[in-house]
């Protein structure tokens, strides 16, 4: 750059290494060149500002600053004019100017920070802290008010995923809903009153933050700490309210409708035990969900299996051997349709084809091969065990 002056360092644009006479012009340049939304052409103030704008207004993720040099495209760094430029880069720039070498391209070999695109120009050149942000990076004082600076200042996390929006990680950790709200007003839970022509239009939900993935996690509505809900825990978090003008039609506790229903069932156990009346114990056990009881049942069932069929209790047989049947005959007897094919799932690799491959399968264990073609009604009481160790049916005792 022949045009540069000897001593006085001119303001320069970090994104494209261009120098300007005046910081004002630099700022104009940045707004027009680097911080302009490509969709609506709104001029934003900073890279993160642009990114937030695109996320919230257009639901677009911007991962690079437009028109920037490849290694200077980090959109997460808050730069406004000369403010916010990483000090390594400032020094580097200075050095190059002093050195008088042509800085037309000005591609310092020093790796500034890992580039989102993975252009890790890890060249030699005594770089200070490759990939590290200078600790002394100052908050840009010249920011216009109203910008979400307050929090961006702590930022400068150089290691952000490309797809990750610009929230500093430590903020995500804290998940502070308080300050986050004023900054990103539209990130506030949006079950707002005026909202929603119900369902008809697929407006992207304006809380760009919360639904753009695991990025900025909006304050979780369930204040349930992860992994803390043991099956027996009594403390149930409540469902967060949506606002005055809307109401979630759901019980207050943040557990599933099925759990609520199951719990009610426990106390009103009369309703669901029409069956199994023959077995004295099971009526009590039927609605009891306690693990112990079910284990006991299992044990009983297991035991029952082991007892010789001859010794089987009639009641046991009733329970385990004979499913409750409805008057209709087995399907196969009426319908010659696909369902008739007595296929077993394991024989077919994919979704069961119809009758196509009916004979491919070996016959069930105790069944003579000739029986395959028989109507299922015949097999109904026949001595066979279609699914392995099934309990015996009373008839062939």
């Amino acid at each position: 750059m022949g045009r540069k002056k000897k001593k006085l360092s001119k303001p320069w644009c970090w994104y494209c290494n261009r120098e300007f006479e005046d910081e004002k012009i630099l700022i104009q340049h940045q707004k027009a060149k680097h911080f302009k939304c490509h969709i609506c052409h709104k001029k934003l103030y900073t890279g993160p500002g642009l990114s937030i704008h695109c996320m919230q207004v257009h639901k677009e993720t911007i991962d690079k600053v437009p028109n920037s040099l490849p290694h200077r495209s980090n959109i997460e760094i808050e730069i406004y004019g000369m403010e916010g430029i990483p000090s390594t880069d400032l020094k580097e720039h200075e050095k190059q100017r002093q050195g008088g070498n042509d800085s037309g391209s000005d591609d310092e070999p020093t790796p500034k920070k890992p580039k989102p695109e993975g252009l890790l120009g890890n060249a030699p050149g005594g770089a200070q802290h490759p990939g590290m942000m200078p600790p002394g990076m100052l908050p840009p004082p010249g920011m216009p008010p109203g910008m979400p600076m307050g929090h961006m200042m702590h930022m400068g996390p150089p290691f952000m995923h490309p797809g990750m929006p610009m929230m500093p990680p430590h903020m995500m950790m804290q998940g502070q809903p308080g300050p986050a709200k004023p900054l990103f007003p539209s990130a506030v839970p949006t079950s707002s009153p005026g909202g929603a022509v119900v369902g008809a239009d697929f407006k992207p939900i304006s809380q760009g933050s919360s639904f753009t993935g695991a990025t900025i996690s909006a304050p979780p509505t369930t204040n349930q700490p992860a992994g803390s809900s043991t099956p027996g825990s009594d403390k149930v978090p409540l469902i967060a309210n949506t606002g005055a003008s809307s109401k979630i039609i759901h019980p207050a506790e943040d557990i599933s409708l099925e759990e609520i229903r199951a719990r009610r069932l426990k106390y009103t156990k009369v309703t669901f035990q029409k069956q199994d009346e023959q077995i004295p114990t099971s009526s009590a056990a039927a609605t009891n969900l306690a693990i112990a009881v079910s284990a006991a049942q299992q044990a009983a069932a297991h035991q029952a299996k082991q007892i010789d069929a001859m010794n089987h209790h009639a009641a046991m047989m009733q329970r385990f051997g004979q499913p409750v049947r409805v008057s209709a005959p087995p399907i196969g007897m009426i319908h010659g349709g696909p369902i008739m094919s007595p296929m077993r799932p394991h024989m077919i690799p994919g979704p069961p084809t119809l009758i196509g491959g009916h004979l491919v399968r070996p016959p069930p264990l105790t069944m003579p091969p000739g029986m395959i073609g028989m109507p299922p009604g015949m097999m109904y009481g026949a001595p066979m065990f279609p699914t392995g160790p099934v309990l015996m049916q009373p008839r062939f005792r």
Binding site: T212, S229, D276, L289, P323
Partner: protein
């Protein structure tokens, strides 16, 4: 009766309906699990109840593995299978808490059960035994099979993606993009992603590919809300079912409505009339021509409506106009 676009099944379950599932290759048979402890098989074309078997407690989910075998599980913690040809019932195994969902993965030929004991167990239908138990960290609320992948939605708004062929590690762990409790997850038939619904009248369309370009396409939208006297009532979206070929999907909410959506083009294709109470489960038939709609009041409100709504299964013939994307999709 059958000539109408919609009719009710006769002899419906006597308790709330937890799941309806059409058979894998016919729209004739519908499997229905219920809080009356039963699993029923209906012949939908003839509109008769064909078979019924019972658990000791309410049944929360059921599935077909092929046309004649079903698996089911519920509050008795027990996974049962039933052979409709021989009407033989077998107990496959147990969990330590209620089994909330049962799915079948045809690609790997394995039955999967998800439970409130935080585990998903795999069962080999050939030798009815457990071939693996995998901790999900939270109660399993919903799960869906997507080719060889399994997407699990748990309490605490967590989503886990597994490869069923290699369950030794979790492929992806995500937090739901919706801010409220996950209600249902179903995968796109084209295996690109899944649809997630929450109790707060909202549905998210998500992609499995973690490439940022692909992830950009995800979005969520509000639905199943009714505005009444200046207050918006927001209902849980209980059910999702995909059209097997068009990649469009139906959602059913506690508002009693069923909507059909084109997820790729972000369009609602149609809305059916309002049903008398909450839609708890939906199932498209294998060819997408019939939709089963299960309606049961599910204790969403503190004071149940009077009279207490009946449990009804509607069988509705759906037309191409209602289910096909309006214009060609760019990415199928």
């Amino acid at each position: 009766m059958k000539s109408q676009t919609e009719y009710k099944l006769t002899s419906p379950p006597e308790g709330a309906i937890s799941a309806v599932k059409f058979g894998p290759n016919t729209s004739q048979f519908l499997l229905v699990s219920s809080w009356d402890n039963s699993v029923r098989l209906y012949d939908v074309t003839a509109n008769i109840l064909r078979h019924k078997y019972v658990h000791d407690s309410p049944v929360l989910d059921c599935c077909f593995t092929d046309a004649v075998h079903s698996y089911s599980g519920g509050l008795d913690n027990t996974l049962k299978s039933f052979d409709f040809n021989t009407t033989t019932e077998s107990t496959i195994g147990t969990h330590n808490n209620a089994i909330k969902c049962v799915e079948y993965c045809s690609d790997v030929n394995v039955v999967l059960s998800g439970s409130w004991d935080h585990h998903v167990k795999l069962w080999d239908p050939r030798t009815p035994m457990c071939s693996g138990s995998y901790n999900q960290g939270e109660k399993v609320f919903t799960m869906s099979v997507c080719g060889e992948k399994l997407v699990v939605g748990t309490a605490g708004r967590k989503i886990l993606v597994w490869d069923i062929r290699n369950m030794s590690y979790t492929l992806q762990k995500r937090e739901s993009n919706l801010k409220y409790q996950t209600r249902s997850i179903r995968c796109f038939p084209n295996k690109q992603g899944f649809v997630l619904s929450s109790i707060e009248g909202r549905v998210a369309v998500e992609y499995l590919d973690t490439n940022p370009e692909i992830q950009k396409k995800k979005y969520a939208f509000k639905c199943h809300r009714i505005k009444e006297d200046g207050t918006e009532k927001i209902y849980p979206v209980n059910a999702i079912s995909f059209h097997p070929t068009y990649n469009t999907f139906a959602t059913g909410g506690s508002d009693g409505y069923v909507n059909i959506w084109d997820g790729f083009n972000k369009k609602r294709l149609c809305q059916f009339h309002q049903y008398h109470t909450s839609v708890t489960s939906l199932s498209f038939s294998h060819n997408g021509e019939v939709l089963a709609i299960a309606c049961s009041y599910f204790l969403e409100e503190d004071n149940p409506p009077k009279p207490y709504p009946e449990d009804i299964i509607h069988i509705r013939s759906v037309s191409d106009q209602e289910t096909r994307p309006k214009y060609s999709t760019t990415n199928t």
